[in-house]
Amino acid sequence: MSTQRELDDLVKAGYEAGFVTEVESDTLPPGLNEDTIRFISEKKNEPEWMLEYRLKAYRHWLTLEEPDWAHLKIDPIDYQAISYYSAPKKVGDGPKSLDEVDPELIETYNKLGIPLEEQKALAGVAVDAVFDSVSVATTFREELAKAGVIFCSISEAVHEHPELVKKYLGSVVPHTDNFFACLNAAVFSDGTFVYVPEGVRCPMELSTYFRINEAKTGQFERTLIVADKGAYVSYLEGCTAPMRDENQLHAAVVELIALEDAKIKYSTVQNWYPGDENGVGGIYNFVTKRGDCRGDRSHISWTQVETGSAITWKYPSCILQGDDSVGEFYSVAVTRGRQQADTGTKMYHFGRNTRSTIVSKGISAAHGQNAYRGLVRMGPKAENARNHTQCDSLLIGDKCGAHTFPYIEVRNPTAKVEHEATTSKISEDQLFYCRQRGLKEEDAVSMIVNGFCKEVFNELPMEFAVEARKLLNITLEGAVG
């Protein structure tokens, strides 16, 4: 009576973004030592201070131990087996226009449905495409420049805006912060830099699509976004990776800084390769993302839709220093197959009247394991600070799991923290009801799941909300049965 076979086929239909682009690359052999770092720095023609920064981080990293794996089951990572630099060869110093970009690369992005060519670009979206380690094309830069917005690769920023980079790089996530952030500080290859000057509302959504391509290359992206007083910027990061047998390491660092009255909205849609149904292959995603509400009345909002990676370990956080500053975290995390996700947020309330909102939606299907881990800390000076946390889990099938670990520390008696948590299951009753009304089982599942995620999707920019919904549907195809 059931469509079991078709569903099975769908499950095995595999990962749509799984193809490898054949371009010659300039890849460093695996291994990590001070020479590796000098090589990277030299390749990028970096100033001395940047090299020093990297070496300091590397030396510190040598003293660190890998973290304990939270709720995750993980094979040990051999850091000497990873190549720390890979750049598409023909690109050289980076193309000046799209005509100079390797057509294979453009084809890759086309397959992913990414609008690299300006005429195809979603109206109002500027794309900074990162292919493996080097930024290959940047669109809309001129228009942004007119508004005074700086949007470029971090390597360019090191050359062209050293004073800004020196001032802000590592100021939110210092290299001493954690094992992966430290490694990133030592070997980061490229990433995105955004600076929105005082009083400027960035005229378009900024977006970077990351793509991990070269086998055995780790990706160590570095993103730095600064919104000066009264500025506003919305940024979207989207990621896909081709299919690989080896687990690939991704250890990015994202730093956001919002000064007085500034607002940064950072959205992520992540569908890196999760590994096959037995858990072979797939991306290890260990990311440090942190936003600093440095000025009064500043506002940082994280929205993430996580459907990919074999292992996800990320806690986009907010440091609420300025009085009346606001931190938000909206998250949908999906695990299926053998995927494991340990994600959540940390809200550090330091300033007075600071407010934070956390909405976390975890969906587990098949053997997926989903853990929410959230920390809310109210410091001694956080008068009248408020947090509201809502943490919902949805289970599809009975072999998956959801776990919630809220940590709350309150050091100011006027501060208030609220936590709500629910767990529900898509029931056979619900599916039958929908099917009786003419919906196919998978459409019923995606409708229920979309309903479950609505509050988070509402936070995404329109076009990306549509994208996220589609992605979720693809991810959950055949999850029931």
């Binding site: 099917r435 003419g438 409708m447």
Partner: protein, 250 residues
């Protein structure tokens, strides 16, 4: 239009329907009454194709097609609609979205064009008027936190929207207040036409005062043990089931 022959159904290894026969013609309204646990809901679920109901013998033809081989959604496309005794809640799923998805799924299944948002809005307002469903219920999650009566009205709204060929109403009258009962019954009556048939499961004659059946059947111990016209329902109301059960046993 619907022909059930010698239907035997097991649930969890226990035989619930034991050789049920029923013929429903085009445009006819059939009422099924019977004691609690006699298998009325089971029959409705089997017709709708719910998992877990094992047909061990017999056949069901719907407009000449073997219904038992079809998936639940295919049956919906073919024109079977089941208003459930206990409508299911779908938290988070907006009722309006659900209605549109369902309508378009059914239309697609029937080889018709999907309705655009504007046409749908117009249609749904019209249909909601028929069952007097307050518009605010369209904006809430499907059945979530609806009162018993509101759920039943929502079922009839869905039926009005999906325009089935056979509407099966499983105790749609239970839990309705007097006014709601009339509204729901009028809603059903407005859907009656020479092409559309109904199978109305109920415990009370009251509903049948409004929705006048062409035939009344008594289901007991997994079989139809007596059939008659609308007067049978009146007789049952007066005397209960005891006498029929005794006669059947004799």
């Amino acid at each position: 239009m619907l022909s059930i022959k010698n239907l035997h159904v097991n649930v969890e290894g226990k035989e619930i329907l034991r050789g049920l026969n029923l013929e429903i013609g085009k445009g006819e309204v059939h009422a099924i009454m019977g004691p609690n646990g006699s298998g009325k809901s089971t029959l409705s679920y089997v017709l709708a194709g719910r998992d877990g109901y094992e047909v061990t013998e017999g056949e069901v033809l719907f407009e000449g097609r073997n219904l038992l081989e079809m998936e639940p959604e295919e049956r919906a496309w073919a024109g079977i609609f089941l208003a459930m005794q206990y409508p299911v809640e779908l938290p988070g799923v907006n009722n309006m979205t659900f209605l549109r998805e369902a309508l378009n799924a059914v239309r697609k299944g029937r080889g018709e064009e999907e309705l655009d948002a504007v046409a749908f809005m117009k249609l749904i307002r019209e249909k909601a008027e028929v069952v007097k469903l307050p518009e605010k219920l369209l904006k809430r999650s499907v059945n979530a936190g609806f009162s018993g009566g509101e759920k039943k009205r929502n079922e009839i709204l869905q039926m009005a929207l999906l325009e089935p060929k056979l509407g099966i109403l499983d105790e749609t009258d239970s839990g309705l207040d007097i006014d709601a009962l009339r509204i729901v019954a009028e809603g059903v009556n407005s859907l009656r036409n020479p092409e559309r048939s109904f199978l109305v499961i109920t415990h009370y004659q009251r509903l049948l005062d409004y929705i006048e059946p062409d035939h009344v059947h008594v289901l007991a111990h997994g079989q139809i043990i007596r059939s008659g016209d609308k007067h049978l329902a009146l007789e049952l109301e007066e005397k209960g089931y005891g006498w029929i059960l005794e006669e059947a046993a004799a």
